[in-house]
Amino acid sequence: MSAHPEALGLRDLVLGFGETEVLKGIDLSVSSRGVTALIGPSGCGKSTVLRCFNRMNDHLVGFWHRGDISVTGRDVYDPTWSLEALRFQVGMVFQKPNPFPLSIKENVLFGPRLAGITETATLDAILSRSLQRANLWDEAKDRLDASALEFSGGQQQRLCIARALASSPDILLLDEPASALDPIATARLEETIAELSQDIAVLLVTHNMQQAARVAQRTAFLYLGRLVEEGETTKLFSAPRERLTEEYVTGRFG
C-alpha cells in the first residue's frame, strides 16, 4: 500500500441479485491517489464492484449484499450519509457517453445545481475548472450554450468526466470509458485520467489490458466473482503470482 489513506474499501463482500451470487467474497483497498484498474473476462463482476461504491446496484431488481463497502473509510450504508451526498463524493463515468439533452454548460453544472448552488460566479468557476480538468476547455469554451449532443463521441465522454468532476468528488469510477471511442480519442482520455489521478482516486474498469498497463499504477484481476490477484500493475503483468492471472494476461482465455 502507498502512503495515501484508503479511498475505497471492500471487506469480505458477497453480493447478488435474487438467486444469483455475483461477487463471492471480495476484499479490496484503493488508495486515495492514482489509478487502479479492474480487469477480467466479461461477466466476472467488474462493473458490479464499481457500482458498489456509489450504490448504483441498489436500483437493480433483487439486489442484496453482505460485508462492508466503505468510501473514505465510511460505510456507504451509514444511515446518516444520504445517497445524494455519497454520489457527490463519488463520481462515475459510463461505458457509452451519456450526455443529457442540454447545453454543454448545463451538462457540467447538473450536479452543482442539484446541490443547490445558485451563485453565478461560483457556477462559472466550477464550469471552467471542471472543463479544464477534463481537457475539454479549449474545445468547449466558445460553445458553452450549444447542445452537448453536437460533440463527437470522445468529446462527449470527456464532457461526462467534466460533469462528474463538477461536484468535486474525491473518487472517480470509470466503467470502460473508452470502449466506444476510437484510438485517438482513447489516447486523449487516458491522458486526462492520468492527470486527474494526481489529485483523486480513480477506479477504472477495462477490457483492454494494454490500457490498464498504460494508465494504472495498480491492477486487480477478477475472475468469476472472486478477486484472484491485486498488486502493482507492472508486477501483475510481468510476474503474476497466480496461474490464472498469468493465463489471462497472456491471452490464453478471456
Binding site: 448504483m56 457509452k96 450536479g111 446541490a115 461526462c160 461536484s167
Partner: protein, 536 residues
C-alpha cells in the same frame, strides 16, 4: 422453378408491390384533396351570366352550374342553370333542355346582386331610388351612386349590429334577474325583493336602451329608403332595398383584375364573416374560431393528463398484471366508437359534473342550467378523453426510448428519481410527447359525433371568447367546422345551392388541421435536431 424462386428472392416484384401500395395511398389522398380544391376553389370565381331564349319565347338569366345527358330524351343534353331570384321563382335552379334553347347571349347589362336574404338576384338594373333623387341606369353617375349607397348600407348594418350587441349587453342583468325571480317563485319562496330589483333593472335598462333604440330605428329607416329597381330576364320588375345588398356586380363586364379582386373579397368574407341564411351563405368565422378554440382546450386538457399517466405507468408503477390491464384498457379505449364518448360526455360531464357545479354554485337560477348543459368545456373534455390513449401510448414510447445510460448518469450525479425524470428523462422524451399531441390534435379536430351531444350548435349567437368579462366563456355553446359541414350539406333547406359552401368549409377544415399539425411537427423536428447524435 428455380428461376421463379430466384426472381422471388431478388424481391423485384415485392419492391414494385410496395411502391404500388404507396402510390395507391398517395392517389387517394391527392384525389380527396383534388376534388375538394377543385370545387371549393372555383366557387368564389365570378361566373359569367348567360341569357337563354327558350322555345316558348321566355328568357332565363343565370349561371350554368352543370351539364348532363337528359334522362328524358336520349342523345340530348340538359344544363342546370342557377337562376337565383328565389323570392320570385321559388327555387334557385332550373334544368333546361339544350333543344329548348333558341338563342344564347351574355348581356353586358346583366348584374349579379348578392343579397342578405333570399340568395342571389340576377337581372337588369332600371334605376336607383333615393329619398332625394332617382338615378336611372343610363345616367353615368349610376354606378358610383349605387356603390356609395351600398357602402353606406354596409356601414349602417355594421352600426346596427354594434347597437344590437350593446342592447344585448344591457339586457343581461335583467335576464339574470328574471331567471332568479322565476326560480324563486318555482321554489315557493318570497320573491318580492327580487321582483323589486327586477323592476328597477328594467327601468334602468329602458332608460339606457331608449336612445340606442331610437338610433337603431333611424338607421333602419335610412337603410330602407334607398331602393334598387331591377327587372328580371322575363320582364318582371322587382325592388331590392339597398340595405339587403351585400354587393352588386355587373359580372359580364368585369376585367381579369376585377374578377381576382372579387374572388379574394369573397374568400375574405367567407373566412371572416358570420353566416347568413341558416348558414348557407356568408362566412364561417364562428365555426373556425370554435374549432380552433376547442382543439386548444382539448390539447391543454389531454397532454398533461396523458403525460402524467404515461409517466406513472412507465416510471413508477411496477410492471405486472395491473399495468398490463391498464394498457389493454387504454388500447381498447382507442377503439370505442366516438359517439359512445359523446354519450359518456353528456352523461358524465354535462349532467353529472355540470349538474353538480350548478347545484353547488348556481343553485339560485335552477332549473335554468349554467354548466349543466352542453358547452365548449365539456366538448373539449370529452374529446380529451377520446384522444387520451394516443397521448399515453406515444409518451410511453418516448419514455422507453430514453437510454438507461442517460438515466443512470443522472442518478449517479446524485439526482433523485424525480429530478432525473424532470430534468433529463422528460426533455429527452419530448419529441415522443409532441408526437402524441400531434396525433391527438389531428384526431380531435376532425371529430364531430361526440360534439353533437356535448355542446355544438348550428348557430351560436356569441363566440366563446369576446369583450364581455370574463372574456373566455367556457360554458357557452359553440360552432364547429365539422358540424357545420354536416349541417349545411345535409340539413339545410337549400342543399344544392349550399353544396359549394360545404366544399369550402371542408377545405378550410383540412387547412386548419394541416396548420395545427405542421406547427406541432415543426416544434418536434426542432427538438429532434437538438437531440440528434445522442446515440453516438
Amino acid at each position: 422453378m428455380s428461376g421463379l424462386r430466384r426472381w422471388l428472392a431478388e424481391g423485384t416484384a415485392q419492391r414494385w408491390l410496395t411502391a404500388a401500395a404507396v402510390l395507391l395511398a398517395l392517389g387517394m389522398v391527392a384525389g380527396l384533396i383534388g376534388v375538394v380544391v377543385e370545387v371549393a376553389g372555383g366557387f368564389f370565381w365570378p361566373q359569367r351570366l348567360v341569357e337563354l331564349q327558350l322555345g316558348d319565347g321566355s328568357n332565363v338569366l343565370g349561371e350554368v352550374w352543370d351539364r348532363e345527358s337528359d334522362p328524358g330524351s336520349p342523345g340530348m343534353e340538359r344544363v342546370r342553370v342557377k337562376v337565383g331570384n328565389r323570392d320570385l321563382f321559388g327555387a334557385d335552379f332550373r334544368w333546361i333542355r339544350e333543344s329548348d334553347v333558341r338563342k344564347r347571349d351574355f348581356p353586358a347589362g346583366a348584374w349579379l346582386i348578392e343579397r342578405r336574404e333570399y340568395g342571389n338576384f340576377y337581372g337588369f338594373p332600371i334605376r336607383l331610388e333615393l329619398p332625394s333623387a332617382t338615378v336611372a341606369v343610363a345616367d353615368p353617375l349610376f354606378r358610383t351612386a349605387l356603390a356609395r349607397e351600398v357602402d353606406g348600407a354596409h356601414d349602417l348594418v355594421r352600426e346596427e349590429r354594434g347597437l344590437l350587441r350593446r342592447v344585448d349587453r344591457l339586457h343581461a342583468p335583467v335576464a339574470k334577474l328574471m331567471v332568479l325571480v322565476a326560480a324563486a317563485q318555482r321554489r315557493g319562496e318570497d320573491a318580492h325583493a327580487l321582483e323589486a330589483r327586477l323592476a328597477n333593472a328594467q327601468r334602468s335598462e329602458d332608460e339606457a336602451t331608449r336612445p340606442i333604440m331610437e338610433r337603431l330605428a333611424a338607421a333602419r329607416q335610412r337603410l330602407n329608403q334607398a331602393r334598387l329597381v331591377m327587372s328580371t330576364a322575363d320582364g318582371r320588375e322587382k325592388q331590392v332595398p339597398v340595405s339587403a345588398v351585400v354587393r352588386a356586380v355587373p359580372v359580364n363586364r368585369l376585367g381579369s383584375a376585377q374578377k381576382v379582386g372579387l374572388y379574394v373579397e369573397r374568400w375574405w368574407e367567407f373566412l371572416a364573416d358570420e353566416p347568413r341564411e341558416s348558414n348557407t351563405e356568408g362566412g364561417i368565422f364562428p365555426a373556425i374560431f370554435g374549432t380552433a378554440l376547442m382543439v386548444v382546450l382539448m390539447t391543454v386538457a389531454v397532454v398533461p393528463l396523458g403525460v402524467v399517466t404515461a409517466v406513472y405507468l412507465n416510471e413508477y408503477a411496477r410492471e405486472g398484471a395491473l399495468t398490463a390491464a391498464v394498457r389493454i384498457a387504454l388500447a381498447n379505449l382507442a377503439g370505442v366508437p366516438s359517439i359512445v364518448f359523446g354519450a359518456f360526455g353528456l352523461a358524465f360531464f354535462v349532467y353529472t359534473l355540470g349538474g353538480g357545479i350548478d347545484r353547488l354554485f348556481f343553485s339560485n337560477v335552477l332549473p335554468t342550467p349554467t354548466f349543466g348543459t352542453g358547452g365548449i368545456t365539456w366538448a373539449a373534455l370529452t374529446l380529451a378523453l377520446l384522444t387520451l390513449p394516443v397521448v399515453v401510448v406515444a409518451t410511453e414510447e418516448g419514455l422507453q426510448a430514453v437510454p438507461q445510460a442517460v438515466r443512470d448518469g443522472a442518478r449517479a450525479l446524485g439526482a433523485t428519481r424525480w429530478q432525473t425524470l424532470r430534468r433529463v428523462v422528460l426533455p429527452y422524451a419530448m419529441p415522443g410527447i409532441l408526437t402524441g399531441a400531434i396525433l391527438a390534435v389531428a384526431r380531435g379536430a376532425g371529430e364531430v359525433a361526440p360534439l353533437m351531444l356535448t355542446g355544438v350548435v348550428k348557430l351560436a349567437p356569441n363566440l366563446p371568447f369576446d369583450s364581455v368579462p370574463p372574456f373566455l366563456h367556457l360554458d357557452r355553446k359553440f360552432m364547429h367546422l365539422g358540424f357545420h359541414i354536416y349541417d349545411v350539406g345535409f340539413q339545410s333547406p337549400n342543399v344544392e345551392a349550399a353544396k359549394p359552401m360545404v366544399y369550402n368549409a371542408v377545405l378550410v377544415l383540412i387547412v386548419l388541421v394541416v396548420a395545427l399539425n405542421l406547427t406541432a411537427i415543426m416544434l418536434r423536428n426542432r427538438l429532434r435536431r437538438k437531440l440528434r447524435g445522442s446515440a453516438v
